[in-house]
């Protein structure tokens, strides 16, 4: 077991980033033209990094499996982006955003990184507005804000329920500007198959052209992985169908440590599973918890009647409803952090109060918000003594203006009108806080290999706060990585172009081919999805919202056996040398089958509950997470040693100099 150096600059917290920027080496503009950088993934982090690096003068090649950078899954983020602008004058500051994020992450993130994130957050908003991102505004023309879980201020900027889309299109437009200038070469419908190391440094990738099936070699002086999270290891998640861990896992196998894989966010407000045919889950933005109240029936017989379709939720009177978040957490109410809200929903459903046919759903009710807004609107419109129908109508209009697209999406999927009857929601896998271990410069343990956005582990600890993923993706991409990478590249100004005919590229390409051939040679019994669904079930049942030693040990055994079965019996039609979606899926699932085991191993070793990681053995009498700072106040970074079971643990001790470690309380 080794100790990891996070390379955090010395000095006071608030000065670290400025000091670091002053201290690091720069590459002069003429030399930047001789340096190539590969960026894999074109979401918020990758797209923003590619645009900024190209603008600085580097030659950038981007890779994405989608047919356009604009389709990266950042696009699906709904609710908003945090920034400590304090436009509302409600006492927000960089420090408060920093504090909320550390506390929200249950004290498992790095102080210096999180402070830097808070520090650059305001710049993100300035930047995006300059790029033409149409954020929501008030009538006076100023930017509007709303509130998200785990905080007591309104610091979330938004563009209706499509904030991720608008921010991604902003980054995409910045990329397009550089593509037009010839500074970015975009390789769409390409998948990174492996990382190539030369003399221990990341010097390129092997990519597969997904249209022709061709294997290509691409070299560079540094490689940036901005390939998102690995939530699809659960099969069902809010991630896109193609979201995968391949790039990160390939890097892990080449020496990049994988940090805190068990820190996964289960988002409390998703549309519940409807049947076995389900291919993915749909999120209902956390912003809905600003106005929606979460409840289940107080009486078990009512819950049963609802499940059987004999009782409608609107028929249950106020006294017979259990607004369990408001009951358990009066200070934060429906806006507790995601991990807390998810566990509370599971607790009620496990106790038999769940409300849809599967018994795994709770209500998210807008009736009181509709009434409140309706009364306010009637008042401001000069209506005296409006009747109930008018109030409801006015209130529904306000709610539609705020969340219209989400309500429409819900109605299309569930076939119920959420204005008239409460939504049904249940937690689902949404985001992964774990990822490639990076230092303060966002460099992995492989020199020249960087990780940004959700792909790295650094900023959210054991639980991410709402509207912080967009903030981190853009902060890493626009404002952090383009500068820190220069320090590394300053040593490469005399290197010249990296040749792709070296033995290292030769060997990497050979291995990629052999792996695909091996996949194709399976005996042909079960489809790729069969294995993916099986893996997902193990993960959800044994590594999901609540974990225990016994089941984690079972999960490790089961996943290992499933992996063996997969490699022997998977069935993939078609050929390697042409477009083949089954082969694409197979490569991704093969890596999930390794990651899943490491995930369980990590969860098993962490004998505490913190954030999204809840071990049943470690809880308070009230069922709250019981952290163990004495023994687990560290980042667990795993080194690849062959099979996942042999992975070696390295620790990075988390030092809190500016924040006092406390038990998280939202009561």
């Amino acid at each position: 077991m080794g100790i990891l150096d996070s390379k955090i600059p010395s000095g006071p917290l608030a000065d670290k980033w400025t000091k670091h920027k002053n201290d690091i080496n720069l590459v002069n503009p003429a030399n930047k033209r001789n340096i190539d950088i590969i960026v894999v993934g074109t979401g918020l982090a990758g797209g923003a990094a590619a645009a900024t690096l190209a603008e600085l003068g580097y030659n950038v090649k981007t890779f994405c499996y989608q047919d356009s950078p604009r389709r990266a899954h950042s696009i699906a983020a709904q609710g908003g982006i945090n920034a400590a602008k304090n436009y509302q004058g409600d006492g927000d500051s960089n420090y408060r955003l920093f504090y909320d994020t550390i506390k929200g992450g249950d004290y498992r993130s790095r102080e210096a990184n999180v402070y830097r994130l808070a520090e650059v957050s305001g710049n993100i908003i300035d930047q995006c507005v300059a790029q033409g991102v149409p954020f929501a505004r008030e009538y006076g023309g100023m930017l509007d804000n709303r509130s998200f879980g785990g905080v007591l201020v309104s610091r979330t900027f938004y563009a209706k329920g499509q904030t991720g889309q608008q921010l991604l299109l902003g980054a995409y437009s910045a990329m397009n500007r550089q593509i037009n200038r010839g500074k970015i070469q975009a390789f769409n419908r390409h998948e990174m198959m492996d990382l190539v190391l030369v003399d221990g440094k990341a010097r390129g990738i092997i990519a597969r052209n997904l249209v022709t099936g061709e294997i290509e070699r691409h070299s560079a002086h540094a490689v940036v992985l901005a390939t998102g999270g690995y939530g699809n290891v659960f099969f069902l998640s809010t991630n896109a169908m193609g979201s995968n861990v391949m790039a990160a896992w390939r890097a892990h196998r080449k020496g990049a440590f994988f940090a805190n894989p068990c820190f996964t966010q289960i988002h409390p407000t998703c549309i519940p599973v409807s049947g076995d045919h389900q291919s993915k889950l749909t999120l209902m933005s956390e912003s809905l918890r600003n106005d929606g109240r979460i409840w289940v029936p107080k009486k078990k017989e009512d819950a049963i009647a609802i499940r059987e379709g004999k009782l409608k939720p609107t028929e249950i009177i106020e006294e017979d409803r259990d607004y369990y978040l408001e009951r358990r957490y009066p200070a934060f109410g429906n806006l507790v952090p995601r991990d807390v809200a998810s566990r509370a929903a599971k607790e009620r459903c496990d106790a038999g109060f769940g409300v849809n046919k599967t018994g795994e759903a709770v209500f998210l009710d807008f009736a009181s918000a509709i009434e409140r807004y309706g009364k306010e609107k009637a008042l401001t419109s000069g209506l005296k003594n409006p009747d109930k129908a008018t109030i409801t109508k006015l209130g529904e209009e306000v709610v539609e203006a705020k969340y219209g697209n989400l309500f429409q999406m819900y109605e299309k999927i569930v076939d119920q009108n959420p204005y008239k009857t409460p939504m049904m929601i249940y937690p689902a896998v949404h985001y992964t806080m774990g990822g490639l271990w990076v230092d303060y410069n966002l460099q992995t343990t492989i020199p020249g290999c960087y990780a940004a956005g959700e792909a790295n582990f650094s900023d959210h600890g054991a639980n991410r706060l709402g509207a912080s993923a967009l903030m981190q993706g853009l902060a890493d991409g626009y404002f952090v990585l383009p500068y820190t990478i220069g320090d590394y590249l300053s040593k490469d100004i005399r290197t010249g172009a990296i040749p792709t005919d070296s033995p290292e590229f030769e060997e990497a390409e050979k291995q990629v081919r052999e792996r695909m051939e091996k996949l194709m040679s399976g005996s042909g019994i079960h489809s790729v999805d069969y294995y993916h669904k099986k893996l997902g079930k193990i993960m959800w049942n044994k590594c999901g919202m609540a974990r225990n030693e016994k089941e984690l040990k079972e999960a490790i055994k089961e996943i290992s056996a499933l992996r063996k079965d997969f490699w022997e019996n998977v069935k993939i039609p078609g050929s390697i040398d042409s477009k083949n979606q089954e082969l694409e899926k197979a490569g991704r699932v093969a890596d999930f089958l390794e990651l899943g085991e490491l995930f369980a191993k990590d969860a098993l070793h962490r004998n505490e509950s913190c954030g999204g990681h809840f071990r049943e053995e470690y809880q308070t009498e009230e069922g709250e997470a019981l952290r163990d700072d004495e023994n687990f106040k560290y980042v667990a970074a795993w080194e690849y040693k062959g099979e996942p079971k042999d992975a070696e643990l390295h620790k990075e001790d988390l030092v809190y100099e500016n924040i006092e470690l406390k038990t998280r309380s939202y009561k």
Binding site: Q66, D67, A72, I75, K85, Q165, S578, K579
Partner: protein, 248 residues
Amino acid sequence: MKLYLKIWRQKDASSPGKIVDYTLDGVEGDMSFLEMLDILNEELVSKGEEPVEFDHDCREGICGTCSLQINGEPHGPDRLVTTCQLHMRKFNDGDTIVIEPFRAKAFPVIKDLIVDRSSFERIQQAGGYISVNTSGNTVDANSIPINKYDADEAMDAATCIGCGACVAACKNASAMLFTSAKVSQFALLPQGRIEATERVQNMVRQMDLEGFGNCTNTGACEIECPKGISLTNIARMNREYLSATLKG
């Protein structure tokens, strides 16, 4: 329910394609259209046949990856949804469903139901941006107030997901709705006005180069658009284009 599917199969861009018949049983109303195709593909794979390839990713109606011409309509019979959000409850037991790729000269077929929409990329690259550096050293976000009405209208235009349904719906395969949505978003914002003249000229030039047809105001694009992008944007682009031309 039981469905009779007629699906376009095409090996690659250079091979000819044809409609192939499939019968699929056990489809439920709660399934999305793509989940229905998943089941078909699972059956095909188990028989050792190549599955039907189609583009899809987020499956929540926002990434714009999914396409499909379903019974002659882009994204099928429902309004304001993409194919991934179209549910089988919109169909009946015994229905015959014809599934084809989006058809347009500027969208060549790659395989089966997958088309190449890189022509859209090149239109965006020609001018779909504001030329501001991403260093973050810009003015404070609230230093230029923007009328809420304009900001909301810019947002409505900006919600285009670039799926190409407008092109597939149009008898001329015109990309006017797509191009005008981006032109409008920026034309409505003070930050975007600065380059408005060059932007509209460059984007329209590229649109024509890609082989998209002309607009004859039939309005099919607006009806089929899963995001409800308004024809007003085309009118605005025409105005922008005219004034740009007059400026020279």
